[in-house]
Symmetry: C2
Subunit: 437 residues, 2 copies
Amino acid sequence: MRLTKSFLPTLKEVPADAQIASHRLMLRAGLIRQTASGIYAWLPAGLRVLRNIERIVREEQNAIGAQEVLMPTLQSADLWRQSGRYDAYGPEMLRIQDRHGRDMLYGPTNEEMITEIFGQSVKSYRELPQSLYHIQWKFRDERRPRFGVMRGREFLMKDAYSFDADYDGAVISYRKMMLAYLRTFQRLGVRAIPMRADTGPIGGELSHEFLILAPTGESTVYFDAALEQQDWLAQSVDFHDPESLGRFFKDVTTSYAATDEMHDETAWKSVPADRQREGRGIEVGHIFYFEDKYTRSMGVTVNGPDGAAFHPHMGSYGIGVSRLTGAIIEAHHDAQGIIWPESVAPFKAAVLNLKPGDAQVDEICNRFNQLGGDAVLLDDRDERAGVKFNDADLMGHPWQIIVGPRGAKEGRVELKNRRSGERLDLSVDEAIERVLL
Amino acid sequence: MRLTKSFLPTLKEVPADAQIASHRLMLRAGLIRQTASGIYAWLPAGLRVLRNIERIVREEQNAIGAQEVLMPTLQSADLWRQSGRYDAYGPEMLRIQDRHGRDMLYGPTNEEMITEIFGQSVKSYRELPQSLYHIQWKFRDERRPRFGVMRGREFLMKDAYSFDADYDGAVISYRKMMLAYLRTFQRLGVRAIPMRADTGPIGGELSHEFLILAPTGESTVYFDAALEQQDWLAQSVDFHDPESLGRFFKDVTTSYAATDEMHDETAWKSVPADRQREGRGIEVGHIFYFEDKYTRSMGVTVNGPDGAAFHPHMGSYGIGVSRLTGAIIEAHHDAQGIIWPESVAPFKAAVLNLKPGDAQVDEICNRFNQLGGDAVLLDDRDERAGVKFNDADLMGHPWQIIVGPRGAKEGRVELKNRRSGERLDLSVDEAIERVLL
């Protein structure tokens, strides 16, 4: 893809109100533009990242048998009156009246709606378990939006909801989601540590937040280094097998991990000192079991084997998709700009044409451009080399293929790895093999 | 994919308020559920159709060099005050106040916002032309929502916006979009006829609506049969070449086509009688050139070659993505249910297991299920054959692979084409070759 045919406007100045690195970098690298307080438009490079995150989240949800639906952004207030949350929810809920004066709201979450949809369609215990999810824009009217997409008002979230016949079933659904989450975050190139979270009046151990380590995180976190070293993608957990899931869950939850809210000094002391890790974390996911709270309040039942109606047990499972773009940058950047993990990068490589108009340089660049297709961004602007180097570092492409007139004469290019800074002098074919195949 | 592990709830009863076929069929086939007046949730089968439509729309927009962005659903009223539309827009605009009492709105369209984003980033004529589009949920507070997703309140739309230096450039952008639209609709399995539409005070010939022929259409349409017979996918229009685009545009616009609003009896009489077609149409797209209406009212300029600032010329280009699901069904159904074109079908084929538990039947079904992956729906329910036949016809899968115990013994299955009704007796390998390869 040619930069001169693209809409990839980088900014030279740092916007004054952007306090944290990800917010500054997302604006400077042309990923987003603010359109109102806490509300952003996603420009092409940002949208590519968002779609990459969505794709990985979706694949891992599908892998554990969750079914994708799409619920609307606006909801009727009556639905929330049934659960009692319409009045309970604070000013973060955006309340709306339509032209006929009917009370509506911009959904901050979807427990009520999914419970209603489930109740209309599922009548028998034989149709359980069910896990339904969607990836949709939500709105929370933050009093003081800040940190760019990390605490915006309109945000993209994946929220899943499980329905089971009983507690034992709900535990299995919960463990599947924990597995999917750990795999998802690892594929996104970040380490998200699951931490026990408050379950409120429901109690029990089935509430976990997932936090990415970053110096700008909102919470202090304490955890056993063992959790950082696990490779969740290599593990052969069989999600069809409750025992395999049980071992996995025990493995995850045995190691100490807590945010300051839930921190327990006594338990912490039992973690060997060389494995104690303390830092700051950004919440990017939350999984939570809440018994029959919504099926009961909304009067949703299914029939059991004995013909008697019962309220299914539910859990809900959120991932902050738009927030993750910021959180990934917080975890992966340097003074020059973003350092994208390959799995979410808007482009896998940038090809820097250092002398547009030079026949040999142009020819090599065009070859990369054609072979790379959508995965490669060709910087064919009539700009100084320094501008191109800076923009490529800022935008954080995992690879830079640098094509200058001297190397081109000998059919050679320079390949730079953005993360390590390593530079290799390669033939065109070697660079193609290394980056594009 | 196994039906028993899916969330594909069909309905037996026809909902009373559903007046047209597509609305009834979308509810019965479990594509959507109403969650509020004119607002729908998309269940898994419906979402698959929506995503297929989106994908084809996106591919054809990208093919003409348009860049995808994603603007938020909520907009600041101030933006619309700049263009003068905040007060001009009627009660269909959903007006909202946030917690600080600031006026906002749920975007019914995005001319203002895209003009602002463009203006922040593009400074020179050298960066023109630009075409930017997004596929995002919109809201229009219809007084009387009806016909399901065909006239809903929250709806998914692709809207593109072009920016050119002058009228001649705008004409080229407009023609590219017309080409993209004709290709898009043809790939979606429908014939959408472009019809001259009113340009209001701007005048000229650069406004076209695209209408799909269906008996339930809202407008009467008159057109030359020549327009129905064109194969836009086979045509080799070079969108980089203004002359090639010009010939294409002339070709399209020379043949008579008009809705009743724009109908001209004199011109109509000059169409040979055997080529006169009259019917009803559903509007699924609209392309429109409007000079510098928004760049002027919003004070957006770029610098020309002489250094003088000027207002770029714009056009806007909409496709009703969610509406298309209904419109495609209006054009493709019979008394038994939907008949999906393959390009948008939620599943390419259903495999009907007529005797779950029979080892040979199960084995053949599993083979199709494994090979077909996500494209195949295996009806493995413990239900009568009649229920499975009816549901498969209702859901409109292009192919049905019917596996019964008698055929299974000899390794044979029945393949039914949903559209033609044709049934073939085939070996398993022949059926695989026919449908899955």
